[in-house]
Amino acid sequence: MSALVADEGGVDDVEDLASFRDRARSFIRTNLRRLTPEELRAHPETGDDEAELAAVARDREIQRMLFDAGLAGICYPRAYGGQGLTPAHQRVLNEELAGHEYPVRTQIPNLSPCAVTILEAGTEEQKSRHLPAILRGEELWMQFLSEPSGGSDVAAALTTAVRDGDQWVLNGSKVWTTGAWWSDWGLCLARTNWDVPKHRGLTVFMLPIHQPGIEVHRIEMLNGSREFCQEFITDVVVPDTDRIGDVDDGWSVVTRWMFHERMLYTSPFVTEPVGTVHGRMDATAVFDIARAAGLLDDPAVRELVGEARMLELVTNEVSQHVGESIRSGRLNEQAAAIVRLFKGTTSSRLVTLAFEAAGAEGAAWSEHGAASLSAVNYLMRQAGLIGGGTTEMARNVISERVLAMPRERTSDKDVPFRDVPRSRPSHG
């Protein structure tokens, strides 16, 4: 990260923070709508396809406005349409955006990890073609990374790319792509060599999502959301110029890609207004649920509210603290997994607290509201410990890469990937 981001205050012609703040504030006041308290708390997903497409269009529009105002891609180089500014500028923008609409759908995974990966591993031509388009909101990127067979073992990708002259033919399936049905491009990991060990036969490609040969299925989740997708890729042709990194060297690209995914909580490459809730449970939600259930006078319920607020406060500090520790070198970059683990276990606890606060209303409710929301969230509780890499994987990273404990034994080292035991297909 340090290599990518300008030093804070280290570059002579970097705009000073105060004037940047003034510029950001005046743009926001003139152009962006203030959200109501209800909108601020709500999950950004609309739950209705037509409304969702309208929201995507609005997000693209705001992204374009930010670009035109010199407020898009704060930490991206100027050569590719970014601002060449520092993480401190990004923090100022996040502060100034608090309480306003912002283009939530152009952030994760579009700006990071997708665009950052292109920035780090792409050719000059690829960067010039795609990065400005991404920053203008014209291209929306998704990660074609996980596979039905794989889960956390990303390097065990079965999607295959076979070379055919100066192009490649891809076949396979990818899963857990958020909003692939309204996105434009996929950053895709594929196997290009089955006769070498797992990590040495992978290559990264970019491909347009909406083309014959890619079938996008939407997956219904326990809470009714249909934003996650699975793609079936059949004989999709990708020119060799759309390959990122060297052939069979995709794992070095993916290592950085996954690093940026873990760093999302403190990333200077995405915008998230201070105080963004996105339907996550927090102390106010727990309080409202308890109030609606008429349980506010119960001292035990008050304590649950206090615990929720405590966790919220600690969460804010942990992200910042670990980010600073990595920047100062006190902890290595892999320590980003500490934030992932903390956020996972904490979000799970907050969801439990909210469900507790609902009392019996959490089992059977008379009208759709706080209590039913807490029940549905509780049903989905583990999602926060799974998505973006499971907490078990985070614990492996922390123990092995931060604390330097011995790596787990695997059966896929030093053998051709085609000989590595794998799940039976029906167990996908």
Binding site: G306, V314, S328, L331, F342, R395, L403
Partner: protein, 376 residues
């Protein structure tokens, strides 16, 4: 805390670290088990010379800071106290010094605290369902006051020369500085698991107090008491973080060195994941304590909830972490000869002092309710 330290602060921290390593190594702590005072007077005076008791005191009273932010400097000492499970009334002496620094009362006592010649402690209120509640009552008697009641636990009560007593008085809060030798004051030692920290119960049986012993304005000390509590919560949390760090370091080393079934403990995934959780709790405790320290130093409006969050979190997970360290050691972890229990003792006592994690969760809950316009 312990982040972005200036060179002077780092030098200051290292000086205390070196001094404690030399003066109170684990064997010295074990030897304190049956020592009634729990610390040596000469040790405390030397610590005072290093700055342990002067950081919350203005220069005109003989104090001074390292960085301009005295509480942040002092939190480094508290962290090292936790790391070494060090003896000495760090929290109580500093709270009293900070209180006297802001008043005209007891300048000679303040001088004695700064030089380390004297020890003073705080008869603090207790944290109940409705907030902080003094357990000693002050009643007007002519121009003076008469005190009744009991305060417990009071740190270093049997070693203290003076007591800062927080009293309720006619619906208000009054603080007075009382010599321990005053007629009607009785100090009874209490038992504790900490080897190097002592507590007592202090009873006040019609103790007469002159008007010049009042610290601040009679009946109007509530805000001052709240500030003292925040100072104490920050220091206790910083101590817990230090004790967590030592427990973690010892156990991490053990995991690499100890072999079972031909493999180091550090190679077992079931144990590796425990270390990942422990490191996460440690960094989270460090983060929230640092934020509470800065907020209290700068007296921001978030200081109340941040100090309680730091105390609740470091109290809960400090104890969990040390207990897990014991578990990862196996039988040796519950023996007196091993060093681990020194830090376990410290986090246990810090956890239960000035409000348990549950007390502080309720306090934060009340703050949320107040913000939402609902009475506590």
């Amino acid at each position: 805390m312990l982040m972005g330290l200036s060179d002077d602060q780092e030098f200051f921290r290292q000086t205390t670290e070196r001094f404690l390593s030399e003066q109170v190594p684990p064997d010295a702590l074990r030897a304190l088990r049956d020592d009634p005072a729990g610390f040596d007077a000469a040790y405390w005076r030397q610590g005072a010379e290093l700055g342990w008791t002067s950081l919350l005191v203005d220069e005109e009273h003989g104090g001074g800071t390292i960085s301009g932010a005295g509480l942040e400097d002092l939190s480094l000492v508290a962290y090292e106290f936790g790391r070494h499970a060090a003896p000495g009334p760090l929290v109580s002496t500093n709270v009293v010094a900070a209180a006297l620094n802001g008043s005209d009362t007891g300048p000679e006592v303040l001088g004695g605290l700064v030089s380390g010649q004297q020890v003073a402690t705080w008869c603090a209120p207790v944290l109940g369902a409705g907030g902080w509640e003094p357990t000693v009552e002050a009643v007007r008697d002519g121009s003076g006051l008469v005190l009744h009641g009991e305060a417990r636990p009071v740190e270093s009560a049997t070693q203290a020369d003076h007591l800062l007593v927080t009293c309720r008085q006619d619906g208000g809060v009054t603080q007075v500085l009382v010599p321990v030798s005053s007629p009607g004051v009785r100090v009874t030692p209490l038992g504790t698991v900490d080897l190097s920290r002592r507590f007592g119960s202090v009873t006040f049986d019609a103790v007469s107090v002159q008007p010049d012993a009042v610290v601040g304005q009679a009946g109007e000390a509530a805000a001052q008491v709240e500030w003292q509590l925040r100072l104490a919560l920050v220091l206790l949390s910083a101590e817990s973080v230090g004790a967590m760090q030592s427990g973690f370091d010892i156990t991490l080393e053990w995991a690499f060195d100890r072999y079972s079934f031909g493999r180091p403990l550090a190679s077992y995934q079931a144990l590796k994941h425990r270390f990942a959780d422990m490191l996460t709790w440690l960094e989270a405790s460090r983060a929230i304590t640092g934020a509470a320290c800065v907020a209290t130093q700068q007296q921001t409006e978030k200081a109340a909830e941040l100090t309680s969050a730091a105390k609740a979190y470091s109290g809960e997970y400090g104890a969990e972490l040390l207990q897990d360290c014991v578990q990862l050691h196996g039988g040796i972890g519950v023996t007196f000869e091993h060093d681990l229990h020194l830090y376990l003792r410290r986090v246990i006592v810090d956890r239960a002092t000035l409000g348990t994690p549950a007390d502080h969760r309720r306090r934060i809950g009340a703050l949320v309710a107040a913000k939402e316009g609902v009475a506590a």
